[in-house]
């Protein structure tokens, strides 16, 4: 019995199961999940990252430079989330102590930030253990486009566990960390977000938030430091011209401007 196949079978000459799975995954109809990284859309930053963007199956730590910069770090995470494919929900894990301290995410604020609040599923947890459990469970389900959350303390062992869960799921895990208690971790990248003066229009009104972004640690990549601004309409990051004369740009709006209601 020797029947010639109508089309040649895919040449699966992989040696182990993982490779076979990889090959099969590649053959399945394309989906956003299969991509291994999502770029920030800024060549200067993406070139520093090993895969030309934030790796999907990995943990990324976003550290608030000072306690006052926590809102900026929140903003950077939300900007990253807003850039993800739209047809999957997003999970944000927030322990109650974080909420008491930094406030809670505001739906209208998220909306103004370009992230549809309906996409976000908020998970409130009583303590760190539950938050870690919820993150791991969300990753393992492979339902959301990304999992984000606030974690105050994380030792190497736990971060390895989260990193493994993220690798298994092939989903990005964005962890908001606080500068005062950072330990060594298994995260693929560590970003440090600081505050910067916002971009303003000619009437002195804020148009785009700006952050002082530092890629502090990046496995197989290069560290770097940039001042980026985020456009909530196009979901795009852009670099702030380093040579702009800040004195000039500030001239028009240095006095508080009253806006008619």
């Amino acid at each position: 019995m020797n029947i010639a196949p109508s089309h040649p079978p895919p040449r699966v000459i992989a040696r182990n199961r993982a490779a076979v799975m990889e090959e099969l995954r590649r053959l399945l109809p394309g989906s956003a999940r299969v991509s291994t990284a999502f770029p920030l859309g800024l060549a200067a930053i993406d070139s520093c990252l090993p895969e030309g963007g934030l790796a999907c199956g990995a943990t990324h730590e976003i550290v608030a430079d000072t306690e006052n910069a926590t809102a900026a770090a929140f903003g950077f995470i939300m900007a990253l989330l807003a850039r993800l494919p739209r047809f999957h929900p997003l999970i944000f894990v927030m322990p109650v102590y974080g909420q008491r301290r930094y406030g809670r995410l505001h739906g209208h604020g998220l909306n103004a930030f370009g992230l549809d609040p309906a996409r976000l599923i908020m998970v409130e947890t009583a303590h760190r253990k539950e938050a870690l459990w919820a993150m791991e469970e969300a990753l393992r389900s492979r339902v959301p486009a990304a999992v984000a959350g606030l974690i105050d303390k994380l030792d190497l062992k736990l971060s390895q566990r989260l990193q493994l869960a993220a690798i298994d799921a092939g989903l990005p895990l964005l962890l908001l960390r606080l500068a005062q208690n950072l330990e060594s971790s298994a995260a693929a990248t560590r970003w440090r977000v600081g505050t910067a003066e916002a971009a303003r229009d000619r009437f002195g009104l804020i148009t785009r938030p700006r952050w002082d972004l530092k890629l502090e640690r990046c496995r197989n990549g290069r560290p770097g430091e940039w001042v980026v601004e985020y456009d909530h309409v196009t979901h795009r990051f852009s670099l702030v011209a380093a040579l702009a004369d800040s004195a000039l740009s500030r001239g028009a709006g240095s006095e508080p401007v009253r806006q008619a209601c």
Binding site: L28, N68, T70, A71, A72, F74, G75, A79, H88, P89, R100, Y102, G103, R104, L105, H106, G107, H108, G109, L110, N111, A112, F113, G114, P117, A118, R119, L120, I121, M122, V123, E124, T125, A126, E130, A134, E137, S141, R142, V143, T195, A198, R200, D201, F203, G204, L205, I206, T207, P209, R210, D212, V233, T234, G253, P256, V257, R258, Q259, C261
Partner: protein, 547 residues
């Protein structure tokens, strides 16, 4: 039923005559008595003074009806291990027992005789003196259990009339007035009523007499009010050996679910709410309620949820001497059509909605139903009231929801006259690049400035220095740190909602400012009260943080 009331104070010696009394017309009357009191010749219903006269030493306690009712409820819940329809007796039944509707359940115990023997043995094990009767109608069962000479009786259907004839007329659950009147007229037994014409009774007595008679003989339905809502699907397993461990409970629960899956598949139904009942050997019942976001038939999912719930309960779950029966009831089912699963189903939207529901179920089961929530806009000007976090309970995926919002918005824009219900409040439409290009300079003015983070409660800002009374602050102190304001934007004036202010005094108007300090930190502050009109000393609050 034995009385459970045992008020604090001196202990009751159960070997000595002991009665419970309740206030009645003409002084307190005995409502319950123990064996010693019975031996001393006391009877239920006689005045307390008579009872005291009959016996030298009598222990008396007032009747606590609430404790009695709670104990009866507890016992009736336990009895759901025999059948899901169990109904405790109300006041008109004497409030000292319960009905079990064992239709279709008796064969599980090897017949009616075996069932009541088993029930009697277990109840006696709890220290109760029981009288049980099985009959075709609740009324007949009630009468036989009270007035038949044998404590356990199963009456075959169709023999009610013969069995009733010798019973006294009190067996019909009549009001005292009616039975007194019947006695006066010479009717002592039910048999003397049975062969009499009905019309004179209907004319002479209230409708109660004939209704009770018909109920006892099965001519009129007597509806039972079950103690728990009867489940849509139910499966129960009796164990030879009591189980203690969580693994055993989960494994039995998944076996019960497996038994139900076939029925669910046949009816195209999926479970939305599940109740797991664990019957303890000592008569207590532990129930675990599980709510599901999407109808499911998945055994693995349900058993995982039960496991999570048991873990969350942890120490508070007390197995006691072990569980001797496990019951799984589906209390709410919804239609769920069968879907063919394919190799690539993980890529499809349908599979994704189910996975999402499964994840939400898991999180809710472990963290509590209020912990997994989603933003929902509320129509209000006040920032803290303009939205709420609603528990994710409906089955629609977030993407679908936002699309509905989009549709509603489109409808409103098109001035659809047929629309009578206002659309649900939704978030302002996000700016799109198309609209952005047209009105570049007014983009910020059009979009309301709202912070990314809103503090749970507005926190007072101290040492506020403002140049003008209603101008933006130049410096303020919040949480112990002083900030120098570099730029300010505002104010945005938000006044109180007058339609809310009827009962309490109106809230002051707020002027919101967006402030940026020298380091680029952005705050949302407001000044409470209009200077000079509402208040003389304006107070400042930090309400939110911008990214």
């Amino acid at each position: 039923m034995a009385q459970a009331a045992n008020p604090s104070g001196r202990l009751v010696d159960v070997e000595q005559p002991f009665v419970l009394v309740a206030a009645a017309a003409g002084g307190p009357r005995v409502t319950a008595l123990n064996e010693a009191a019975d031996a001393a010749g006391l009877t239920s219903g006689e005045p307390l003074s008579d009872a005291r006269a009959k016996t030298g030493f009598l222990q008396v306690r007032p009747l606590d009806a609430a404790v009695d009712a709670a104990a009866l409820r507890h016992l009736t819940l336990w009895a759901t291990r025999y059948t899901p329809t169990a109904s405790p007796w109300g006041e008109d039944n004497g409030a000292d027992g319960f009905f079990l509707d064992i239709e279709g359940a008796a064969h599980l115990f090897g017949g009616e005789e075996r069932l009541i023997a088993d029930l009697a043995q277990r109840l006696e094990g709890f220290g109760l003196r029981v009288r049980l009767a099985i009959a075709a109608t609740p009324g007949a069962a009630w009468a036989l259990s009270r007035f038949h000479e044998t404590p356990l009786i199963a009456l075959p259907s169709g023999q009610e009339a013969e069995a009733f004839a010798p019973l006294p007329i009190e067996a019909l659950r009549l009001s005292p007035e009616t039975s007194t009147m019947l006695h006066r007229l010479g009717f002592k037994t039910i048999g003397s009523l049975l062969d009499k014409p009905r019309a004179p009774f209907a004319a002479r007595f209230s409708a109660e007499l004939l209704r009770r008679l018909d109920q006892a003989l099965g001519r009129v339905e007597e509806p039972l009010v079950p103690i728990v809502a009867p489940p849509v699907y139910h499966s129960l397993r009796y164990l030879l050996e009591p189980i203690f461990t969580q693994e055993a409970v989960v494994s039995y629960a998944s076996r019960l679910m497996q038994a139900l899956v076939h029925v669910l598949e046949r009816d195209d139904k999926g479970a939305r709410a599940i109740k797991l009942s664990l019957y303890r050997v000592d008569g207590a019942v532990e129930t675990i309620d599980i709510g599901l976001t999407l109808p499911t038939r998945s055994i693995a999912h349900v058993s995982r949820l039960i496991e999570l719930k048991l873990e969350a309960l942890g120490a508070s779950e007390n197995a006691g001497f072990g569980f001797e029966a496990v019951g799984l009831a589906i209390t709410h089912a919804e239609s769920m059509s069968a879907r063919q699963t394919e190799l690539t189903s993980a890529m499809e939207e349908g599979g994704q909605a189910e996975d999402c529901a499964a994840l939400i179920d898991k999180l809710r089961q472990r963290l509590g139903p209020q912990s997994v929530r989603r933003f929902a806009a509320v129509e209000s000007h006040i920032p803290e009231r303009a939205e709420m976090l609603a528990p994710v309970t409906d089955s629609s995926s977030p993407v679908e929801r936002s699309e509905t919002g989009e549709r509603n918005r489109a409808k409103r824009g098109g001035r659809d006259v047929a629309q009578t219900m206002p659309p649900p409040p939704c978030y302002a439409s996000s700016p799109s690049p198309a609209t952005r290009g047209r009105k570049d300079s007014f983009a910020a003015e059009e979009e309301q400035t709202r912070p990314l983070l809103l503090l749970p409660q507005a926190e007072p800002a101290e040492e506020v220095m403002a140049l003008a009374p209603d101008g933006p602050p130049r410096r303020f102190c919040w949480r112990g740190i002083t900030y120098d304001v570099k730029r300010a934007q505002g104010p945005e004036r938000i006044s109180a909602e007058w339609w809310r202010a009827k009962e309490q005094k109106p809230e002051p108007t707020r002027d919101y400012f967006l402030l940026e300090d020298a380091d680029g930190r952005r705050f949302w502050l407001y000044c409470e009260g209009l200077c000079g009109r509402e208040t003389n000393a304006a107070r400042w609050f930090v309400h939110g943080l911008f990214a």
